[in-house]
Amino acid sequence: MAPNQKTQTEGTNLKTLGLNSPQEVFDLLGLLKIDGEPIVKNEQDVLDPKLKAKAVIDYFSEKFNVKMDELPYIASLIKHDLKHGKLTWRR
């Protein structure tokens, strides 16, 4: 292995998924409303990154049995579809 070649050992490479930070994963998924119900139900949790992350993790774990390390892939797909107009923001 070349000296400058690093092995990815610390989880998902967010850059390759088009994501800028771990917080972006939770920001994106925290904006979802599923069947009209927000994933982050407690409004105060929206303002606290840790509580927001916990709410998102709990939701996907309970509803879809999705582990935390799978969330960046979901966020990446949603971000991709937002950028390409397949998903839109609502107010």
Partner: protein, 134 residues
């Protein structure tokens, strides 16, 4: 906010009175449960390495499980000086690079599984016969 959107992701008006909403009217993304399930499914596919996605071949988990040796051996090519030392191969065989490589692989396979030596010798003999005829 890292989302590349020109719209504000969240509009928070401060100060807030206790009990008032801070995210009412903030942008959101509407999805159905099925829609989100589709994303979850696609994400799982995205996450699965290519070779696992198409073969779904489990790795051997018990001592008795034997991996597919042929697949493992196929790309193996010994260095030329080692290939030249392979026994039971005529000099004519050594001239042909692909055959030498194949013989080398066979020899390695024979080393791994000595009980296969008779079969491997037979294969080599048949190859010689084929080459002699052609």
């Amino acid at each position: 906010m890292a989302v590349e959107s020109q719209q504000p992701v969240r509009s928070v008006s401060a100060p807030q009175r206790p009990g008032t909403s801070v995210i009412s009217g903030s942008p959101h993304i509407d999805l159905t449960t099925d829609g989100l399930g589709g994303y979850v499914e696609r994400a799982a596919q995205l996450r699965t390495p290519e070779h696992e996605r198409f073969t779904h071949s489990p790795l051997p988990t018990q001592a008795g499980d034997i991996p597919n040796i042929a697949v493992d051996i196929q790309p193996l090519v010994l260095p030329q000086h080692q290939a030249a030392n392979v026994t039971n191969i005529s000099p004519a065989d050594k001239v042909s690079a692909p055959l030498t490589q194949m013989a080398s692989s066979l020899e390695v396979l024979a080393g791994l599984a000595p009980e296969l030596r008779p079969l491997i010798s037979q294969v080599i003999q048949e190859n010689r016969a084929l080459r002699a005829r052609s």
